[in-house]
């Protein structure tokens, strides 16, 4: 007989519970190229943020900056930027600040 205190699920049935915390992948580590913004060219139109599939571009008040913890490096922001303000740079070029990713 298995004792109830060994159970992982608090109730009968297969329920997931995201009320406290969520599962999360280190998708930032998938990235091969990193979006880099030329602030001079940016007019804060927000298209990059709207089209970003993981929605990881944060509003900085006058531009958007990728959350590098989650940015998968797809390059959609760079492709869609009407002013060509974002360029995709190989991750290797940022080896120095890899601690910050």
């Amino acid at each position: 007989m298995v004792h109830n205190d060994k159970f992982m699920f608090p109730y009968e049935g297969a329920w997931s519970d995201g009320r406290e915390k969520l599962l999360c992948l280190d998708t930032g580590s998938w990235r091969v190229n990193r979006p880099v913004l030329d602030k001079e060219k940016c007019n804060y139109c927000s298209l990059c943020a709207l089209y970003c599939p993981p929605q990881c571009l944060k509003d900085m008040g006058d531009h958007y900056a990728p959350d590098l913890d989650y940015c998968k490096g797809c390059g959609i922001c760079a492709r869609e930027c009407p002013r060509g303000a974002i360029s995709m740079m190989p991750e290797g070029e940022f080896a120095d600040d890899s601690a910050k990713r």
Partner: protein
């Protein structure tokens, strides 16, 4: 340079500011499904009940034991049972007088194929549910096999182009048109390049669900299955609209309207050349494809009221 302080109009459609999903989830880089999944609750709200099934969305929508990747209320149905499970949930809430928005969210494999019967049944019964299909034109989760929304000529893992095969031999099933023809309170097509249009349609869906069945068909290119570059998926959406391959329309209680009419459509070849699943097509086949696009567009065009 003076920077625009006011946010674009699309933000007016957003009900939610908090993304219910975890930052890092298992969707491929450049995936339009991911954008769709994160966009829908922005407009519909985070208090929806999402009903889904095994599909590309499942690895994120389903929990893993107690863990989960999002904060939405979720019911995991079978591929055969999405529209019917949603019916049960929505009917129960109706019975107890509770206001809740039940949203089905599946790929085309469910809505066009194995889950088509319950989808059609729910539409006919005019159930108060919103059904959103993200159409990646095949069974992408199981390895890019053809579905009934795979277009003619596409090379998939079960209709591979070869020495005697030219890809899928038959054209796609037009599910949104079928739903509109079944008398859905609201049926519409949408895609990710035209987010204003999509947001407006979702907003409309929120109102129309009070009258009955709502169906939205979202054209969602698959980076891996279609063999496109990760940064090209929005461009592919845009080109699909500009070539009339995927016209944007809506049908409100049977009244059709083009929501984004393309004044001088580009040849479909410009769309096809972006996608390697079509790379084997020869000129004659591309011409046939163009004729197919023209025929399908003509049908929609004739159905639409001139404003």
């Amino acid at each position: 340079m003076t920077k625009q302080k006011k946010k674009p109009k699309i933000y007016d459609y957003f009900k939610e500011t908090e993304d219910p999903y975890a930052g890092g989830v298992a969707w491929c880089p450049g995936c339009t499904l991911e954008l769709t999944a994160r966009f829908v609750p922005k407009v519909l709200g985070n208090d929806i009940i999402l009903v889904g099934c095994p599909c590309c969305a499942a690895p994120v929508l389903y929990g893993q034991n107690l863990g989960t990747w999002h904060r939405l209320s979720y019911f995991s149905s079978l591929m055969t049972g999405v529209a019917s499970s949603a019916t049960g949930i929505s009917r129960y809430y109706r019975k107890i007088g509770r206001d809740a928005t039940v949203v089905c969210f599946t790929g085309d494999g469910c809505s066009a194929d194995v889950g088509f019967q319950p989808l059609s049944g729910a539409a006919e019964r005019n159930e108060r549910i919103i059904y959103i299909t993200y159409d990646n034109e095949g069974y992408m989760n199981t390895g890019y096999q053809r579905s009934s929304t795979t277009p003619m000529g596409a090379s998939t893992s079960t209709t591979p182009a070869g020495t005697i095969s030219h890809g899928k031999p038959t054209p796609a099933k037009n599910v949104p048109l079928l739903m509109a023809m079944q008398g859905a309170a609201y049926a519409a097509t949408a895609t990710l390049s035209h987010l204003d249009d999509f947001a407006r349609k979702l907003t409309k869906a929120r109102q129309k669900i009070k009258e009955g069945f709502v169906y939205i068909h979202v054209f969602s290119p698959c980076v891996m299955g279609w063999r496109i570059e990760a940064d090209m998926s929005i461009q592919v959406c845009r080109m699909a609209v500009r070539t009339n391959y995927f016209p944007l329309w809506e049908a409100e209680n049977g009244r059709f309207r083009l929501t984004h009419e393309v004044s001088s459509p580009k040849p479909v070849q410009e769309y096809l050349r972006l996608i390697r699943k079509f790379s084997h097509l020869k000129e004659t086949e591309i011409n046939e494809f163009q004729q197919m696009v023209d025929r399908k567009y003509a049908v929609i065009k004739r159905l639409c009221v001139t404003e």
